[in-house]
């Protein structure tokens, strides 16, 4: 049995009177690909933000990589994010006036020191060796998402979070991105937690959990989905 990379107990997040995430117990073993599904407002992104150290829970405990995130100061959380987590957003969030390689180097800069050779090689790994000097506006949606992946993995995170990374992509680009993630995960051995609405994308994961109105309502392993 692999060690747990994420372990939550009664994890709760309230925004005023609204309970975005109701007490949640969740365990994610190291190296697993977990997909989170649910309707809009079901608490998927809230969960992602909590696990990624972008937000703090209202109650409960949250252990990521054996560390209690509630005990971290703001600086500690920032360090945790830059050293432990890689995030891929649906909207890319690339800096528009920087080239692809510079966007990747930016992540290196905040982590430690920029290394252009390494950033180039990372982009080459995601198949963008010929687009190094292009700005985001000059890239297609799929290519931009691949830059995001290169940026997310450049600091060798233990945990890769994807918040609907294929939400804006066509089927062909989606397939390309998912294959790339699968390949990188096999090489780098990171854990993936991915939010999606797409059942086909969810099928790439080892396990899927369903949230509804902030509650965990269903959980399916890949084998079970396959059976279904």
């Amino acid at each position: 049995m692999a060690e747990l990379i994420i372990e939550t107990t009664n994890l709760t997040r309230n925004y005023g009177d609204i309970c975005a995430l109701k007490p949640l117990d969740l365990q994610v073993p190291e190296g697993e690909w977990l997909t989170v599904m649910g309707h809009s407002g079901s608490g998927k992104s809230t969960l992602m933000n909590l696990v990624g150290g972008l937000d703090r829970p209202s109650a409960g405990s949250l252990q990521v990589g054996g560390k209690d995130l509630l005990a971290f100061t703001e600086d500690g959380l920032a360090r945790f994010r830059r050293e432990f987590v890689g995030i891929i957003f649906q909207q890319h969030h690339l800096v528009p006036y920087l080239t692809a390689v510079e966007n990747v180097m930016l992540a290196q800069y905040f982590h430690s020191v920029p290394d252009e050779a390494e950033a180039r090689s990372s982009l080459e790994r995601v198949g963008l060796g010929h687009r190094l000097k292009n700005r985001p506006g000059e890239l297609s949606g799929g290519e931009q998402q691949r830059v995001c992946i290169a940026r997310a993995i450049i600091n060798s995170p233990k945990l890769l979070l994807g918040d609907e990374p294929t939400g804006n992509l066509d089927q062909k680009s989606t397939l390309m991105v998912m294959e790339l993630l699968k390949e990188l995960r096999a090489e780098e051995k990171f854990t993936v937690i991915m939010v999606t609405h797409n059942q086909e994308v969810a099928a790439w994961g080892d396990r899927t959990i369903y949230l509804n109105d902030g509650m965990l309502v269903r959980e399916e392993s890949r084998l079970k989905v396959a059976e279904v």
């Binding site: 050293e83 290196q108 982590h111 430690s112 020191v113 290394d115 390494e118 450049i154 060798s156």
Partner: protein
């Protein structure tokens, strides 16, 4: 109480010394604390005994020599540090091993304590002559408390804040020099700049004597105009500055030149970069210490150039000669010549004038001297803390030696004591002033 207040800056320096020693010899807190405090007690009691056994000038001389030696040691270490940074000094690993031994930590802490204790006792002695023993006891108690606070503070400092051995020596020496610079007779920068000035002058004279400087009619004025620059006061100051700051600058450079760890074998890029950035950050932290030492040395220079000591410098009183040409100054009256203070007078004869002073030395003898020496421009003297100071070159002349000729001592004038008055020959005074002081002033101003 006022005397104890004057010790506050020195106790701050002691705090810094303890803090840096504790961090520099990390893992040896108790031995560093104990050795440092023992050293401080030795410094205080040793200096106290010296003051009791010998004249103050001897004690100040001893403490000043100790400080001078620590500065020379700093110079040596800075040169070694910069040499090591060139990566040609593989054979010098014994030095690294030596620094890590417990005995080095104990000896270094003890010596630093001795220096700090001695400087504090000099401050006590310079500030007051009464109750020094009691004040010394209070000083020891205060030093113990300060060391304890430093220990508590050091435990809360971030782990990343590390001190290199050379940086530790730089900051400890700088703290000692800064502490000493507020005591006129322990200040090292003024004598250093004087030595530089004298060295330059001697160098030029040697060249002249060796006839290495061309002395032809066509070039003479040009050459002397250029050489004259070397005789300015600024040469001593800037030369002293170079010698004063170079060791700390060399240590900063040595830290900056330190090689980063080899990372080529680390396969994962992020880990490789993390190792590099950690090494760069640690190097920056280490460089902070000698940079701070530079600031302290700058503060010491400032204190040396603009001492906070208030000099006793009375306005010269005009005196006249009688029909026999003699100036008669009563020993007691409006002014008491035997109060141990400098009493200045000015004598005018036609267009000529001469400044002089009367002083009773600690030996109980009256002395009459020109308010100028035979070397410097006649800027005069002030009196403070058991010495008179030449305003031009900032040389301190112990009161015991005032009245003796030579060097930067005030030029003594023959006089007689006639019962209740001091008698000086006016013509001798004017001639003496004209012959030595005004001639010297012309030499300095003309650059030749």
């Amino acid at each position: 109480m006022a005397t104890l207040l004057k010790l506050i800056p020195h106790l701050f320096a002691w705090f810094g010394i303890v803090l840096i020693m504790l961090r520099g010899f990390s893992g040896r807190r108790s031995s560093v604390m104990l050795a440092g405090m023992i050293g401080f007690v030795i410094g205080v009691t040793g200096t106290f005994i010296l003051f009791r056994s010998y004249p103050g000038s001897v004690t100040f001389g001893v403490v000043k020599s100790v400080l001078g030696m620590s500065f020379i040691l700093l110079w040596g270490c800075s040169v070694v540090a910069i040499y090591r940074s060139t990566d040609r000094a593989k054979v010098m690993s014994w030095g690294k091993r030596l620094i890590k031994t417990p005995s080095t930590a104990i000896i270094a802490s003890c010596l630093a304590g001795v220096g700090a204790g001695a400087v504090c006792t000099c401050r006590l002695s310079a500030a007051t002559t009464d109750g020094v023993a009691m004040a010394s006891v209070l000083l020891l108690l205060a030093a113990g408390a300060v060391a304890y606070i430093a220990l508590a503070f050091e435990k809360r400092m971030p782990e990343a804040f590390k001190v290199s051995p050379a940086g530790m020596l730089a900051i400890v020496t700088a703290l000692l020099l800064f502490s000493a610079s507020s005591i006129l007779r322990l200040d090292l920068f003024s004598p250093l700049s004087m030595k530089v000035m004298k060295g330059v002058h001697d160098f030029v004279h040697q060249f002249m004597e060796s006839i290495l400087i061309p002395d032809h009619l066509f070039v003479r004025s040009y050459i002397w105009k250029t050489i004259g620059l070397l005789f300015s006061k600024e040469v001593g100051f800037w030369g002293g500055m170079v010698i004063w700051f170079t060791p700390a600058i060399l240590i900063v450079l040595a830290i900056q030149f330190e090689r980063l760890p080899a990372v080529a074998h680390i396969r994962q890029g992020a880990q490789r970069r993390r190792v590099l950035v950690d090494a760069i950050r640690a190097r920056r932290y280490r460089a902070l210490i000698p940079v701070f030492a530079l600031l302290l040395l700058a503060a010491a220079t400032y204190q040396s150039c603009f001492p906070s000591v208030e000099y006793w410098d009375p306005k010269p009183l005009p005196v006249t000669a009688g029909s026999s040409g003699e100036i008669i100054i009563p020993k007691k009256g409006e002014i008491n010549l035997e109060d141990g203070k400098l009493h200045k007078y000015i004598f005018r004869q036609g267009v000529k004038e001469a400044r002089f002073f009367v002083l009773m030395t600690p030996a109980g003898e009256l002395t009459v001297d020109l308010d100028a020496c035979a070397i410097c421009k006649p800027d005069g003297y002030g009196q403070a803390e058991g010495s008179v100071i030449c305003y031009y070159c900032k040389t301190l002349i112990p009161l015991e030696t005032v009245g003796k000729p030579g060097g930067c001592n005030p030029v003594p004038i023959p006089f007689t004591e006639n019962g209740d008055s001091v008698v000086v020959d006016g013509l001798t005074l004017i001639n003496s002033w004209s012959a030595t002081v005004q001639a010297t002033a012309r030499v300095k101003e003309g650059g030749k």
